[in-house]
């Protein structure tokens, strides 16, 4: 049996038998799947850039109370003040520090983005697995429900639901989360349909494994890659969704800061033409957050797909 040597690994010279065994053991442990995907992901320049930008956003959101120069809701005397040394990005129309609000706004965007996606990925995975694995009437019912959900004008339904339950951070997250699952469910169902025909799943049945074990340990791990990519893009669109809702006044309720409701001020033409510090920074933040996440998604997809093509 030829031992497959990994050229990237330094092979220590084996002197006695015991250490030779150890070397064999070490050589046997080729890089794991996760390791390989991580390596390919980091080699992807755009993805790496996206990861760094996104990491900065996460840090800023976590350290907001430390980083922000002022309380985001504190009202200073001079409103509409242009950037100065006291207020690096100026103050808004009620006299709050724009930079501080921008920093605290990142918390909102990331919470909605990650929270909503976590909810709908969980729902989508469970429904997709059930539909794909059990087929027949289970599949029929779940997929028809999915069709119904997909035929709603997504944004309008969210708008209506949020206005019913009341706009707040947790409500927006939940509503987006409860409505976003159909795409994931379809994706998972599709993967499951092909994976359950694989011989290793049949082998699991023949070996007498329980159905949950087969579904969660043998099918799900092999269906995970496209879900992960899809979820990444989902975070970006959830952030945009929150910004849009806030812009329309259906998002995070003022005075709490969110990038979306900061943009609302740009509705006035004077702000748009002569006070760019009020709308340019939040706009740029949304752009950067969404771009960095989408780059990460692209990188992740490439890293995973090149592995599969191998």
């Amino acid at each position: 049996m030829a031992m497959k040597l990994n050229p990237n690994r330094n092979v220590p010279e084996a002197a006695d038998l015991t250490s030779k065994e150890a070397v064999l053991e070490e050589l046997g442990r080729e890089e794991s799947y996760l390791h390989m995907v991580t390596r390919r992901f980091l080699k992807h320049k755009m993805a790496f850039f996206g990861l760094i930008v996104f990491a900065i956003f996460v840090l800023v959101a976590l350290l907001a109370p430390v980083l922000a120069p002022y309380d985001p809701n504190k009202i200073f005397g001079d409103f509409d003040a242009s950037p100065s040394s006291a207020h690096l990005l100026g103050t808004d129309q009620v006299g709050r520090d724009v930079l501080s609000r921008l920093i605290f706004g990142s918390q909102v965007s990331l919470t909605v983005g990650v929270g909503a996606v976590a909810i709908y990925v969980a729902i989508g995975i469970v429904l997709g697995l059930l539909a794909g694995y059990f087929g027949k009437w289970v599949d029929m019912i779940i997929m028809r429900i999915t069709d119904v959900f997909m035929s709603f004008p997504y944004f309008m339904v969210i708008l209506v639901l949020v206005s019913i339950v009341g706009p707040s951070l947790s409500n927006i997250t939940t509503v987006i989360g409860l409505l976003g699952w159909p795409a994931i469910a379809r994706l998972v169902r599709g993967s499951v349909l092909s994976i359950k025909e694989m011989d290793y799943v049949k082998a699991g049945v023949a070996l007498g494994y329980s159905t949950p074990k087969i579904i969660f340990q043998h099918i799900l791990p092999n269906a995970l890659a496209p879900i992960l990519v899809n979820a990444t893009f989902g975070v970006a669109s959830a952030i945009i969704m929150e910004a849009s809702l806030s812009f329309l006044g259906m998002g995070v309720r003022p005075p709490a800061a969110s990038w979306g409701n900061m943009l609302t001020e740009a509705e006035s033409i004077t702000v748009l033409s002569s006070q760019p510090w009020l709308w340019f920074p939040p706009g740029l933040m949304i752009l950067l957050a969404v771009l960095s996440i989408n780059f990460m998604g692209d990188g992740l997809r490439d890293a995973i797909e090149s592995q599969q093509a191998k």
């Binding site: 049996m1 497959k4 065994e21 064999l24 053991e25 050589l27 046997g28 442990r29 080729e30 794991s32 799947y33 694989m198 011989d199 290793y200 049949k202 082998a203 699991g204 049945v205 023949a206 070996l207 007498g208 494994y209 329980s210 074990k213 043998h218 791990p221 092999n222 191998k310």
Partner: protein, 318 residues
């Protein structure tokens, strides 16, 4: 194990209300028995129902009707729970070594899993058994931390065999275990299967479309065509005195590595296998049989005989 009148029909559905308009008769009234310790070869063209038969025996397919008696129980009708317990005695080895191993599991975990799932061993015991089984199938125990994609087809097939052996089964269905492998590796795997049979006292049902491997490993051979058994006899009998025209044709199709035999007389088969959705009336082989007479088009021949069973109105004379 005794198989009685096994049938597996797949409904053909049409229209929006999924009305069943017909059936694909993948396995149609197949009966045979297998004795402990022997190897029964199951041969036939692609789509003749041999794999479906194999899979029905381990209930990867639910048979439409018929009985599969194993250890006094009818596998076709017992509950899923009872079946789960019996699965430790019945295993299957798959054709495609690239799809039969979960790509996300290390070899060690993949092999220990059956024992742990049936609570037959502790983790430490399972690890010990994994080491042992890897050596039994001719692989280094150091491979257990590797993933399936790091192995060649032959090595993967050995791992698949090792996994089937983990539960110490009595009967193993080998579903074309060597068809996907290189010729040189085929011999290794066949020898391994033979050695394991002796060591663990295994019974095999060996499914293949080529006669070479089957001849080498089987004690008895069953020839199938369009979901039905055509002929069943001892390996030597089948090769030396085939009685069914179809068997004769299969044997002729098997290349003989002897240039002087090039001009031997051959019965040549014409046309394709008819669709199992619309099998021919009478003897299913009559559309391609060079000896077909009127009765073949009308009456289904019974599978007759004691040691050498054959389903043909006009068996070839010996």
């Amino acid at each position: 194990m005794e198989v009685k009148n096994l049938k597996k029909y797949y409904p053909i559905k049409k229209g929006i209300i999924s009305k069943t308009v017909g059936y694909v008769k993948a396995v149609d009234d197949v009966s045979f028995s297998i004795y402990p310790g022997e190897t029964v070869g199951l041969v036939g063209e692609s789509g003749c129902g041999k794999s479906t038969t194999g899979r029905s025996l381990v209930r990867l397919e639910d048979p439409t009707s018929g009985q599969v008696i194993f250890e006094g129980k009818d596998l076709a009708s017992i509950s899923k729970k009872e079946m789960r317990e019996l699965r430790t005695d019945l295993q299957i080895i798959f054709q495609d070594p690239y799809s039969s191993l979960n790509p996300r599991k290390r070899i060690g975990d993949l092999l220990a899993e059956p024992l742990l799932a049936h609570k037959l061993a502790s983790k430490a015991e399972a690890a010990e058994k994994v080491n042992h089984i890897l050596e039994t199938v001719g692989l280094s125990k150091h491979y257990k931390n590797r993933y399936p994609h790091e192995f060649s087809g032959g090595q993967r097939q050995r791992i698949g065999i090792a996994r089937a052996l983990m539960l110490h089964p009595k009967l193993i269905i080998c579903d074309e275990p060597v068809s996907a492998l290189d010729v040189s590796i085929q011999a290794q795997v066949l020898n391994l299967l033979k050695d394991l049979q002796k060591e663990f006292n295994l019974t095999y049902i060996f499914i293949a479309h080529g006669l070479g491997a089957v001849k080498y490993i089987s004690d008895r051979i069953t020839v199938m065509y369009l979901g039905k058994i055509m002929e069943m006899a001892k390996t030597k009998e089948i090769f030396e005195h085939p009685m069914h025209p179809y068997t004769e044709i299969l044997l002729n199709a098997y290349p003989v590595p002897n240039p002087h035999m090039r001009d031997r007389e051959q019965i040549v088969v014409e046309g394709d296998v008819p669709s199992p959705a619309h099998p021919p009336k009478g003897c299913v082989f009559h559309t391609r049989c060079p000896f077909a007479k009127d009765i073949c088009r009308e009456k289904v021949p019974e599978l007759n005989g004691t040691d050498h069973l054959i389903a043909c109105h006009f068996p070839l004379s010996q």
